[in-house]
């Protein structure tokens, strides 16, 4: 046994924990502070239905001229077997999702067909029977918050822009932008991996790639809390990643503020090969993993905007996008 050293002992005792003071200095936003200072303060309860129900989101987006994936059919109540079959029969690729699913639950993606078999992105095959059951599960409220009866949406599969092909394994790469009072403040790309089983959830092993708001280039990438430079499955270096049409994407995110009226908002956006950025869904309670992906705390940026006067807050979308891209540029990129 060596000499007893108090700091060393404390460090050991603390294990992987960092001090709350250090987090505070870094401007990291915690869950409690997010709930009280941002969600409760800036998101009016009566505006939640617009984002909690994806059919409403779609309708609102249409009114505001925000592009979304094409809706093929929606079932308000438990559809009959023939109704569902009539909808999916002529389709080769489609997505079945609950209108009020939370956390990406209950989304069934079909990427191809082989006679009666429908192929999922993982290569697994499901039958029409399975799809019918899935629809029935959704309508009974299995995936909705509190088990309320839900509606089913059948959407066209997004024709993903091939720019991300090598950055995602089996899954859907989407870009999450946090918009605070209309100003985009942070963005990340979520890449699924073999480890995450095709899912884009960071805590399940997906890669979170911080995207520089100014340029659309990656500035930081993290998997399971560790910094990485290449995609673990495809070995593609993230340094080469550049989101095409970045300003359009940021503008789309910023215009979601007018569409939803929510002050603290997370927009999930995908890139379609032909149509460009499409709004997948909006979220009134966006998670905090984006800070880990970017390696930067959110609190500083949010406080910066909280200090704005009325005149600054009344800027239009274009002005806000320009301001954010200038103000919240990453200090360095992964190049």
């Amino acid at each position: 046994m060596g000499a007893f050293s108090l700091p060393q002992f404390l460090a050991k005792l603390r294990g992987g924990l960092v001090s709350p003071m250090a987090l505070h200095r870094m401007g990291v936003l915690g869950m409690n502070a997010r709930n009280i200072n941002y969600i409760a303060r800036y998101n009016d309860r009566d505006k939640y239905p617009i984002v909690d129900d994806k059919l409403s989101t779609k309708r609102a987006a249409k009114r505001s001229g925000i592009p979304t994936p094409e809706l093929i059919a929606a079932f308000e109540t438990q559809p009959s077997r023939s109704q569902v079959l009539k909808v999916i029969e002529p389709l080769w690729q489609f997505v079945v999702k609950p209108a009020r699913g939370s956390g990406g639950k209950g989304i069934l993606v079909v990427v191809g067909r082989d006679g009666d078999k429908y192929r999922k992105p993982s290569g697994a095959e499901v039958t029409a029977q399975d799809i019918l059951r899935h629809v029935s599960n959704i309508t009974s409220g299995l995936y909705s918050l509190g088990g309320k009866p839900d509606r089913v949406m059948v959407e066209a599969l997004v024709d993903f822009d091939p720019v991300f092909d090598n950055y995602s394994f089996e899954g859907v790469p989407d870009i999450r932008v946090i918009v605070f009072r209309g100003f985009p403040v942070m963005a990340m790309l979520r890449c699924s991996t073999h480890d995450s089983d095709g899912k884009a959830n960071l805590h399940q092993g997906a890669v979170g790639v911080g995207i520089d708001l100014a340029t659309g280039r990656s500035c930081h990438a993290v998997q399971r809390g560790l910094r990485i430079n290449r995609h673990p499955d495809t070995e593609m270096p993230f340094g080469k990643l550049q989101v095409p049409g970045w300003r359009d994407l940021v503008r789309l995110a910023a215009s979601c503020y007018e569409m939803t009226g929510l002050g603290y908002l997370g927009c999930d956006i995908v890139l379609d090969r032909r149509r460009g950025p499409l709004l997948l869904e909006a979220n009134a309670r966006p998670g905090l993993a984006i800070q880990v992906a970017n390696g930067v705390g959110l609190a500083g940026r949010l406080q910066h905007i909280e200090r704005f006067d009325l005149e600054q807050l009344e800027k239009n979308v274009e002005e806000r996008v320009s301001y954010s891209m200038r103000q919240f540029a990453a200090s360095r990129t992964l190049r």
């Binding site: 987090l23 990291v28 502070a33 299995l142 899912k199 390696g295």
Partner: protein, 510 residues
């Protein structure tokens, strides 16, 4: 006012109100702050005996007045075949037993429970006659005794400054067997007690005085005769003297039965009447003593509370009152630690089940039902059922599993597992349903994390809820719930980091 300030003010008000009520109940009503406090309760039984001759009988026993430092908790009378009532005359309560005719030895009982509280024993001023009736000592044969009494009084008066010291001097002299005057007096009044003689002497000395009858409360005493104290008026107030020691003040443990006044017992139509006392002490939980003493006074706080419910409902409330504590544990663990659980307050319900089943039985039954239920649920999911029917099917499965567990374990001789019925079935079924979704969506690892988190919270909640002190406080001081509510409100305002976040965001610091 900002919502935050409102929360703090509201929480402070709630906490003050709860704490105030608690202190009031502890201080004024005597509810014990700590569990396991016992108070001594004396059970005193007066037995009236006499021989009846077949004539109409009437027996009257003076009942004890309420002594200030003795709380009467309960009293009962027993007298088979006798009519009974309590009459009050001249500030005195008397129990009167009556019967048209009785023969042979008769026994009547009066029993009361008293509890000694701190404070002065007697009320001042007392509205008692301060007149002195001079005894007649003029007869010829009383010459010697008269001289002795006068000499005793003169000596005492010389050696004293006021009534109090004079009384002490007189009593000391009367207790001194070497004192010639004293021996002469007692020689003349052979059948008189010390107090009788003392009263006589005091009357000669022109000091108003009377007798106090009572008992020394000592455990396990039977067939006691009442003992006497002397009470003397010093011109302003009444002072009690213990006759044998001559010291002023009511002795500790002395229970005053009758102060001044008439006889203790009057019997008409009987002979050889006598009253004897027996005393036992019981150690009774402090709460029961408070309950008894407050229920007599109809204390609103107690009368309109859960204590007024029947015992069976009270025991249900004992459990219900623990739920907020469990909720507080959940709040703490979620807000400060950031544990993930399946269903926000499901762990509290689990914890309540654990209270009934004991921890290890409860844990093993829960895990067993969860595993079996998940297994059945996976099969059900292949059957293409509607959600409601599927969950109902899981509920039925859970019930069958519970029945099976009970029967099998009973046959095996494990009685503990019979408590399985305390598990909330619907909650279990929903838990199974949620877990199976989590399994399908996020994999078995997430199931283990969430089930483990729920169990951890449930065990912690169980641990707090079964705490001796917590149980005592929630049941005896339900107003502490207001304090708890205030605390929860304040926690609801916490914007700092969670413990789990110190881990989650650690890369950001490096």
């Amino acid at each position: 006012m900002s919502p935050r300030a409102q929360v703090y003010i509201l929480a402070a008000l709630l906490a003050l109100m709860g704490a105030g009520l608690t202190i009031y109940k502890n201080r004024d009503l005597g509810f014990p702050l700590l569990p396991g406090e016992y108070r001594t309760v004396w059970t005193i039984e007066a037995k009236v005996r006499f021989t009846a001759d077949g004539d109409p009988v009437k027996a009257a026993l003076t009942l004890p007045r309420e002594q200030r430092n003795m709380q009467v908790l309960n009293e009962s009378f027993s007298s088979s075949g006798y009519g009974f009532n309590v009459i009050s005359e001249d500030d005195e309560h008397r129990a009167v037993w009556s019967r048209r005719s009785a023969t042979g030895p008769q026994s009547l009982f009066y029993q009361l429970d008293v509890h000694q509280t701190p404070g002065a024993p007697l009320e001042q001023p007392l509205d008692l006659s301060t007149g002195v009736e001079k005894p007649f000592l003029g007869a010829r044969e009383q010459e010697a005794v008269r001289q002795a009494i006068y000499s005793l009084v003169d000596t005492a008066r010389e050696r004293s400054a006021d009534v109090e010291t004079l009384t002490t001097q007189l009593l000391t002299a009367l207790g001194d067997p070497r004192n010639q005057d004293r021996n002469l007096i007692f020689g003349y009044y052979k059948d008189r007690s010390l107090v009788d003689v003392a009263l006589l002497v005091l009357a000669v000395a022109d000091i108003p005085a009377h007798r106090i009858r009572g008992l020394y409360l000592e455990d396990d005493r039977r067939r006691l005769d009442p003992e006497d104290l002397l009470e003397v008026y010093d011109g302003k107030r009444w002072v009690v003297f213990e006759p044998h020691s001559g010291s002023p003040g009511v002795p500790e443990n002395f229970f005053i039965w009758q102060r001044g006044g008439k006889s203790l017992l009057d019997v008409e139509g009987g002979r050889n009447s006598r009253v004897t006392f027996s005393v036992i002490s019981n150690d009774v939980p402090a709460r029961e003593v408070s309950m008894l003493s407050t229920s007599r006074e109809k204390e609103a706080l107690v009368d309109f509370s859960i204590y007024s419910l029947p015992i069976e409902q009270q025991s249900i409330f004992k459990l219900i009152l623990l739920v907020p504590v469990g909720a507080l544990v959940v709040v703490l663990l979620r807000v400060f630690v950031g544990l993930r659980t399946s269903g926000t307050f499901m762990p509290v319900l689990l914890a309540i089940a654990f209270i009934e089943t004991r921890l290890f039985t409860g844990l093993s039954i829960f895990v067993l039902i969860l595993i079996l239920g998940l297994w059945v649920r996976f099969y059900l999911s292949r059957l293409n059922l509607l959600l409601v029917s599927r969950i109902a099917a899981v509920v039925v499965t859970v019930v069958i599993l519970m029945g099976a567990i009970s029967v099998v374990s009973y046959k095996l001789g494990i009685e503990q597992a019979l408590t399985v019925t305390f598990f909330p079935m619907i909650i279990l079924a929903w838990t199974i349903e949620r877990m199976s979704i989590v399994w399908e969506e996020d994999g078995p690892y997430e199931v283990v994390v969430q089930a483990g988190g729920s169990l951890l919270v449930a065990v912690l909640a169980w641990w707090v809820m079964t705490n001796h002190y917590v149980e005592h406080w929630t049941f005896n001081f339900p107003e502490l719930l207001l304090v708890l509510l205030g605390l929860i409100l304040v926690i609801g305002n916490y914007t700092g980091y969670r413990l789990a976040e110190l881990m989650r965001f650690r890369q950001l610091v490096k």
